[in-house]
């Protein structure tokens, strides 16, 4: 009989990613993503409208507090659009991070009952948040047009920025997910950590406000490159900040690979400690 033979034995050390197996489970990824989206907006009046309200209202509040009261510089563009441009990628990052980090805990019932590549879970989080991102992105485009900004050729850099955004969110998400299964502290720390992290990225202020000497350290946060990149593309306040983006890309790749391998290393224990 030409049957596949599965060998189960204890594994040791670091493991690679079984891409073939992951592809076999692509339908699972798809349905879990659909489940994530549908379940989130089920039985709510505004439904997917929340994906618009969340970044929009936050930006309005920031505009009032940081733009009008604290008079934070917005590099010559209206503060609202300045901060909304940052808010769209940031919301994706923070939501994906939170969801991915909790994905193993919230799906503990699946992990302890069925086998499937566990990577599907953080991937699902990253994929289902893409819809929210797309909606918020559309809102951003509409607002840009309302404010009279024009699009130019720099748009070609957008896919690169989005890839960095994905790598960063998923990389950090996998890392935290693997940690959170065993150390529930991650879960408690996460919500306020994400809030604090926002102040370590140029969401409510421009990078130019950060003292020159610290900018290199500051830009180790890949979200700095992503956000400043978004501003360069849409607001044309500056040329493409390649130094931030370059550094950010390296850190993002490192974070992604590190997160992936750490996840795979810890994966064997998930069912036992979840």
């Amino acid at each position: 009989m030409g049957l596949i033979v599965t060998i189960i034995r204890p594994s040791k050390g670091w493991r690679g990613v079984n891409v073939k197996e992951l592809l076999h489970y692509k339908d699972l990824l798809r349905f879990l993503t659909i489940r994530g989206i549908k379940a989130k907006y089920a039985q709510s009046i505004l439904g997917i409208g929340w994906a618009i309200i969340q970044p929009l209202v936050t930006t309005v509040v920031f505009t009032i507090i940081f733009g009008n009261l604290a008079k934070v510089s917005s590099e010559g563009v209206p503060y609202f659009i300045f901060s909304l441009t940052a808010m769209v990628p940031w919301t994706y990052f923070s939501n994906t991070l939170t969801d991915a980090a909790n994905s193993l805990i919230t799906n503990a019932n699946l992990i302890t009952k069925v086998y499937f590549p566990r990577l599907v879970l953080p991937l699902t989080a990253a994929l289902s948040k893409l819809l929210d991102f797309l909606i918020a992105f559309t809102v951003l485009i509409v607002m840009l047009l309302v404010y009279g900004f024009s699009m130019n050729w720099t748009l070609i850099w957008l896919p690169l920025l989005i890839i960095i955004l994905l790598l960063t969110s998923l990389g950090a998400g996998m890392l935290l997910a693997a940690l959170a299964v065993q150390y529930r502290d991650v879960k408690h720390a996460l919500s306020f950590m994400v809030q604090l992290l926002m102040y370590a990225a140029p969401v409510v202020y421009p990078t130019s406000n950060v003292p020159e000497a610290y900018r290199i350290w500051y830009a180790l946060n890949p979200m700095v490159g992503v956000i400043e990149g978004f501003r360069a593309v849409f607001l044309h306040t500056q040329p493409m900040p390649w130094n931030y983006i370059g550094l950010g890309t390296m850190v993002a790749i490192f974070l992604f690979i590190g997160g992936l391998f750490y996840f795979r290393k810890m994966e064997r224990n998930f069912a036992d400690v979840a």
């Binding site: 009989m1 049957l3 596949i4 033979v5 599965t6 060998i7 189960i8 034995r9 204890p10 594994s11 076999h24 489970y25 339908d27 699972l28 798809r30 349905f31 879990l32 659909i34 489940r35 549908k38 379940a39 089920a42 039985q43 019932n109 699946l110 992990i111 302890t112 009952k113 069925v114 086998y115 499937f116 065993q182 150390y183 810890m266 064997r268 224990n269 069912a271 036992d272 400690v273």
Partner: protein, 425 residues
């Protein structure tokens, strides 16, 4: 010789059970503890997945398990709670990794450790079929192909586009099982799922499993229901404390399982050192059951006469001893009935030494199952003896309670607590 589809060699699984908590007895001490606890917690959590050194919190859920299963075989896996059955299933279904040893599986494996895994209450029945199916390893194409069949099998066609949170629990189980029943693995691993649902549903499950086994696939089946195991399986593996206790034909293995239970129970209840309440003048030393013909038996039948025998040791001549027993549900200790000899107007004079007191129940009004028997000896309102854990088990098997050959749970979905006979006019 038939082909081996599953071969397990030297399998072992180690767990770490909860490390001990330290309790503080003073405010100062608890303050210190509060400060140092993060470090301790860290070490404790870290140790969950590290196994250096041999300390007491390490526990082998499975050790040195070897067995082979041939194609088309239905292997029952039995054993007490904590014997390692679920751990074995989890390793075979790749949910958790073994610590030692190796397993070789030939063909696709589907494991059913739960019905309806991944169901989301807010999604419709249709969406959940796809969800659950893909979780169990099917592809969308496969589900598309079998969708109508699955829905027909589940019998919830009408509500297939309703969110499952509006389903009754029975409907959810039926839908979940319908999906599982349409998996086409070479190896099917089933855990106790048959214990849910009504009789009709259980019959459907057993039918489906027979069908799977009949079509040349291999089934591993874990259950506490010996009748189902004997009915379904060709051979069985008996696990005890994480080790293989017996592996053989299903009938022999089930017998071993039952005998494994016996000696443990009687000693456990009335042996030396069990916790008792009473002044010690009278001690209930033995308890056994006899059938109608006064032959000692392990199991009694519903509807038949049964004698409860109490062997009593008396230190002094005791007057007016009132002996009582009560029957309890095994799982939660719920008392079903109680009978003191004084209720029937009788007390006993016990001479110094040993004596036997019997009580005959004319027609045992209990359904199939295991019950706990407790007993107490009283005298003039004083407790003479009360073994706290009870005196033993009463295992009841299906009998002809109504003298018509009809079963007590023929038409209901729940097992009744009691049986009663009456005259319909």
């Amino acid at each position: 010789m038939a082909e081996k589809v599953i071969s397990v060699k030297g399998l072992g699984k180690r767990y770490r059970v909860g490390t001990q908590e330290v309790f503080s007895d003073s405010l100062f001490h608890s303050g210190i503890q509060l400060l140092t606890s993060p470090f301790k917690n860290f070490r404790k959590l870290k140790s969950l997945t590290r196994f250096t050194g041999d300390d007491s919190s390490v526990f082998w859920a499975l050790k040195d398990i070897d067995f082979e299963v041939e194609v088309g075989q239905v292997l029952g896996i039995i054993g007490h709670n904590g014997a390692g059955k679920s751990t074995l299933l989890k390793i075979l279904s790749r949910i958790t990794e073994p610590t030692l040893g190796e397993v070789r599986l030939k063909g696709r494996v589907s494991s059913l450790l739960e019905v309806g895994t991944g169901f989301h209450p807010d999604l419709t029945g249709r969406e959940n079929v796809f969800m659950n199916g893909t979780i169990l390893g099917m592809t969308k194409q496969e589900i598309d192909r079998k969708f109508d069949e699955i829905v027909a099998f589940s019998g919830v066609e009408q509500y297939i586009d309703t969110p499952v949170k509006f389903y009754s629990s029975g409907m959810k189980v039926r839908l979940g099982f319908a999906v599982a029943a349409h998996l086409e693995p070479e190896i099917l691993i089933v855990d106790e799922v048959l214990s849910v649902g009504d009789i009709g549903f259980q019959r459907k499950c057993i039918g489906k499993m027979n069908e799977v086994a009949g079509s040349g696939r291999t089934v591993l089946f874990v259950s506490h229901n010996m009748a189902a195991v004997e009915n379904l399986c060709t051979s069985a593996l008996l696990l005890d404390h994480g080790k293989t206790f017996y592996l053989g034909s299903v009938h022999e293995t089930v017998q071993k399982y039952i005998s494994l239970f016996r000696p443990q129970t009687q000693d456990g209840f009335l042996g030396d050192g069990v916790e008792r309440v009473g002044n010690g003048n009278v001690t209930i030393k033995e308890f056994w059951l006899e059938d109608n013909t006064n032959v000692k038996v392990d199991m009694v039948k519903s509807g038949e006469a049964v004698y409860l025998n109490f062997g009593i040791q008396s230190e002094i001549d005791s007057q007016e001893v009132d002996l009582g027993f009560s029957i309890h549900r095994e799982e939660d200790d719920q008392m079903l009935f109680i009978l003191y000899s004084s209720y029937t107007g009788k007390t006993f004079q016990l001479a110094k030494g040993t004596s036997t007191v019997k009580c005959k129940i004319n027609s045992l009004p209990l359904p199939e199952g295991r019950f706990l028997v407790k007993a107490q000896a009283m005298s003039q309102g004083q407790i003479l003896d009360f073994p706290k854990a009870g005196v033993g088990f009463m295992d009841v098997v299906e009998g002809d309670f109504y003298s018509t050959g009809q079963k007590s749970n023929k038409l209901t979905r729940d097992q009744p607590l009691f049986l009663v006979n009456g005259n319909w006019m």
